[in-house]
Amino acid sequence: MSNEEKQKLERHSQNSRRSYRHPPWNISLSILGPFRQLFEPPQRLVEPYVKKGQVVADLGCGPGYYTLVLAKNVGPEGKIYAIDLDKKCIKALEKKAAKAGYHNIEAHTSSAADLSFIKDKSVDFILANGLL
């Protein structure tokens, strides 16, 4: 990566952190809470694509609505990279994962534009639901 690209990435990363807000539709989904399961069950989106032992990246994971289902589907041999800009979401996810006994989730507070901790050509499935 050239210096110019690194600077561009750093500027983007700083701006993203500064300007990040929950968009109104996500807030409404949080308020609806359990009702989200009725009209957007996570299994329906995840199950056709994710198999045991796979490596999955959940970009914009929030507090883990899809992440825990992904962790269950890949099993202990698989791995989930859970990435979100919001530290609070990542902490909430880590608590939920610990409570549910999932040890295959690697959670990071990061911009999706800089995921250098993930190796090249190492991920079987990317879930970027509502990220772009």
Binding site: P23, S111, D114, V123, I126, A128, G130
Partner: protein, 65 residues
């Protein structure tokens, strides 16, 4: 396309396995969605689209083949 979005898509292309798949979607349909049709098509450029939503639902399952 917004610089951040392009960087994110570039990262996805970097770490996705050649036989892997990705589910991409917007946070909400227009007018709340931040990506217009041209930008959405630009986002999907370089991917092979396996499945996708209609003109209002902007989601797609893609791979690199």
């Amino acid at each position: 396309m917004a610089a951040g979005r392009q960087l994110s898509v570039n990262e996805m292309k970097r770490f996705l396995k050649p036989e892997g798949q990705a589910y991409l979607s917007l946070g909400a349909p227009p007018p709340f969605g931040l990506v217009d049709k041209a930008e959405w098509e630009q986002t999907l450029k370089g991917f092979r689209v396996v499945r996708k939503g209609g003109s209002i639902e902007k989601w797609a399952v893609v791979n690199l083949k």
